[in-house]
Symmetry: C6
Subunit: 70 residues, 6 copies
Amino acid sequence: MSDFDTNLPSIRQVQNFIKDKHEIELKLVTGDLLAGKIFWQDKHCISILDHYDKQTIVWRHGIVYLKPKS
Amino acid sequence: MSDFDTNLPSIRQVQNFIKDKHEIELKLVTGDLLAGKIFWQDKHCISILDHYDKQTIVWRHGIVYLKPKS
Amino acid sequence: MSDFDTNLPSIRQVQNFIKDKHEIELKLVTGDLLAGKIFWQDKHCISILDHYDKQTIVWRHGIVYLKPKS
Amino acid sequence: MSDFDTNLPSIRQVQNFIKDKHEIELKLVTGDLLAGKIFWQDKHCISILDHYDKQTIVWRHGIVYLKPKS
Amino acid sequence: MSDFDTNLPSIRQVQNFIKDKHEIELKLVTGDLLAGKIFWQDKHCISILDHYDKQTIVWRHGIVYLKPKS
Amino acid sequence: MSDFDTNLPSIRQVQNFIKDKHEIELKLVTGDLLAGKIFWQDKHCISILDHYDKQTIVWRHGIVYLKPKS
């Protein structure tokens, strides 16, 4: 199983949020919260677009959890 | 031994909590506590459902400990 | 040397604490202290039983040090 | 996929910021913010030049997110 | 180069401190300072004996730096 | 590419600082700043000598960034 296996639920779930342009929230190891839509993901990072379509590239090791907004 | 070896007690124990829909509590590296039932697990993440069935995808590296509620 | 090599002193020492039901204390990356007896260990986690025999599954990456109580 | 795969969006995106001398901001695990232009990147680090062309070599594990300035 | 290569200066230096029973100080990721003599080291941990010969097993990932006392 | 590849800019740059006995500053994950000259580096650690030629062995995972002093 490579590190970026698209069969894994955690990778597939993020892929669905990208497709559905679902609003999500990331809790970071610094305690910060980051809201937006997921732009892309790869083995190291997840990229978020905020409401102004500004991109933030977040390293996976800096993410504690991801919460989809209802 | 792959990273996600279902023979490992830590993986098997989580699998049992999923099957029994056992209430658990996660202590995160930020100090936060997250309560709920485990929805699924994979090599990178554990997904929790809260009392409103809202999903939170938690990265394993962000988890310090897991405590089953009595 | 695999990651969970029972010849390593750190793995063997924990194995002895399990066998002797030795009281120990874990210092966690959040600064928390967790006291109890070690129930089991595997490549990812160490499980602790507190005084009420309640289990806490601690991820190794969340442990800073382990101290046996005299 | 090696750890430093230039086909990955996260590596390629940083490469573009280097080429375009784009101003960026790094959020670090200590909570610090570091602003400047990216000088170079490799498997372990990203080097930033501040407004005085002073270099800071940042370890990837110390970076939470990277934000391009508009 | 395996993870625990005794040719590496960092491993050899700790080996010397063990041999010479040199007093050292460990700075931990929690900010704590731990003083004592190094008892043993392996791939995952470094064990310290304090002034009462009490052992503390410290995970390498929990250590920021090691300082020999003069 | 091994973990300690002397062709990498981040490894080579530290090698140059050692050769030139360049004063540098390390920012640690605890928020501490450590100043001095780099004594040696290996796959796991970077050793610093302070103004009294006292050695501090810093684990790479404990370093956020390195800044050369002008």
